[in-house]
Amino acid sequence: MNKSRGQLPLLQTTRFVSFDGLVTAATRHQRPDRYRHLDIDLGGAPRVARGGGYSYAAASFGSDVVVQEMVSFNRLLDYDGGVRVRAEAGTTLLQLMEFGRSRGLQVPVLPGYPLITLGGCIAADVHGKNPARDGTFCDWVEALTLYHPTRGFMTIDRASEPALLAATCGGFGMTGLIVDATLTMAALPGGHVQVEASAVTSFAEALRRVDDSSDHDFAYTWHDGCARERHFGRGVVFRGRWTDEPSTPVLPFKAMTAASRGRSPVALWNRWTVPAANAAFAIGSTWGAPKRRSAFDAAFPFARQTVYHRFFGRRGLAEVQVLVGRAELAGFLERLRELVQRTNALVTMISTKPFRGRQVSLSLSGSGVLIAIDLVRTPACHPFLEAFDALVIDTGAQPNVAKDSRLPQAVATRALPNYRAFRERICEFDPDRLYQSELSRRLAL
């Protein structure tokens, strides 16, 4: 606890954990709820902003880093009556979704959990269900207010500060504190989504079906991580289409946090439960007619179904997500099959979707297929990840920095196309490197 004479103890020591459970740190924690708390003098202490804390990597905390938790900065500041909304960085996707629903608008890019904040979406440049069509979150950001102790509050947009905006979008908070942002919303096509699921026997078949889904609003695939040899790639293709039924208010749900996710001291996913759950999931998904889901449930399937993440327990899960070019895809998947077979890692699931990104910071850039792999932290996990890193470099794939909490700097340097330029840009903007996190230190930013 920090108490300075005459000032409230606005700092306390808190233990933070990354959402995947791998990284923990006890550090000083500030929870500003007034603007004067943002420009409070923290001396030369390194600091970083934190939103909902849903990043798999430790992007919002680090040892001896003052964590500025922005959840009280969650107010809508302006709406032009059309599609532009200005909101504070701690505004959650759920708040934006609820605001847009009654006005026939939607957040065009929705990552997987409703309590992720606007600032977090910008810092990690997240993607949604159809990044090939919608791009990434920062494609929809028009302007933002950034705070840096040496420069004060700055309003930046593509015209006035293109380089700074580019470094902030997908820059993991390294350019300063995102205070608010102006977002372009998209028209809400309907209130519900009709989701059809069909079984597939291979990655090739799944991707063919996804590519043939231009008449759908989104398509992605799920694959049984336990399938081996010729069954590798067995899974389900999900394709969704908006329906014109009226939208309904979001029903209450119990929030899952990084801490509550890892409450179980033991992992309940193992070599018996994973195959059984995957078989049940595949059958349950493809059984019967296409399912009608509310916009909320379609966007955030894990909001009400937290068992999958909680079963990884305190030790957590390992997730890797990479963008693979179309030309390298077949070779990548074949080597992935061999790797899973050889290491016998306990993979719970693999998912894919087409992707397009154009940011120039640390976020994914270019087009191809996004492949995510979830693993249980067993002894086989480490050799798998080491070999996977080599596979990423060999095939020119790009790792998603936000999803991999142990991504080594050597891999990031070689695999991220904008790594060096981004590093130079933030060193130029902030030579003292005031904004830091475990992620930035690990990647030597």
Partner: protein, 244 residues
């Protein structure tokens, strides 16, 4: 109807503003920083479609700008109540505090609150009904070596509200006083609290639900009534050894 919320940009005041705006009431928010009160006002107006006006007002100052508040109230539906949620403390609030710091704490927690009530009381009584809600603290239950000026101001405020309730007993102006335990706001953030901080949102909902009732003084969370009852009866030879 319109409610004037003092300290309406953060903590309990902001939660009260949320709850009353959600119920469709117009609001005037007083806070010391325009940036905060304007942000809250914009948010509530956009999300709930109500009229919310922000007034910058430093309760630690010797004089209050009643004109600015009256201006903000003009054109809004009639004033129905004052929710006086402002409060401030300091970590160095011990005997021997500087005059300036002592004055500031006393004004924010007691003097300015009473003056605002005095100013708007004729409006409420003339309207024939109204609501005055004050907020005390369990810190005022018994004097101790910390929060000295703060506790004294809150105890004085409690006495003022008791007098107010007595004076308005025959009218339809309801006077309520909430003695608050720890709330999960920045006032308690970073402090080791012997009991868990309660949600300001739930407290605000309680205030809203009880707004029509003549409850007088009440505790939130309710278990603090028992804690305070016991604390006040601890013999001095034991109390002087207690550290909290």
């Amino acid at each position: 109807m319109t409610y004037l919320i003092v300290g309406g940009s953060s903590g309990l005041g902001r939660a009260l503003a949320e709850v009353f705006a959600c119920a469709g009431h117009s609001l005037v928010l007083l806070s010391s920083d325009e940036r905060d009160s304007r942000a809250v006002a914009a948010d509530l107006a956009l999300r709930h479609g109500v009229q919310v006006r922000a007034v910058t007002c430093d309760l630690a100052a010797a004089t209050l700008d009643y004109g600015a508040i009256e201006d903000a109230l003009s054109g809004l539906p009639g004033l129905e109540g004052l929710l006086l949620a402002a409060g401030a403390n300091r970590s160095d609030d011990e005997p021997g505090l500087s005059d300036q710091a002592f004055e500031a704490i006393t004004r924010v927690n007691h003097g300015s609150i009473c003056r605002l009530v005095n100013h708007f009381l004729p409006t409420l009584t003339a309207a024939g009904s109204g609501l005055l809600v004050g907020f005390g603290s369990i810190a005022a239950a018994r004097g101790r070596s910390r929060n000295v000026a703060y506790s004294a101001a809150k105890r004085a405020l409690e006495s003022y509200f008791e007098s107010l309730r007595h004076a308005l007993a025959g009218s339809r102006v309801r006077v309520q006083f909430y003695v608050l335990g720890y709330l999960d706001t920045n006032l308690a953030f970073g402090q080791r609290t012997p009991l868990p901080p309660a949600s300001p949102r739930r407290c605000a909902e309680r205030v809203f639900l009880q707004r029509e009732r003549d409850i007088g003084r009440t505790y939130y969370p309710g278990y603090w009534r028992l804690v305070v009852f016991v604390l006040r009866r601890v013999p001095w030879f034991l109390y002087r050894r207690m550290s909290f």
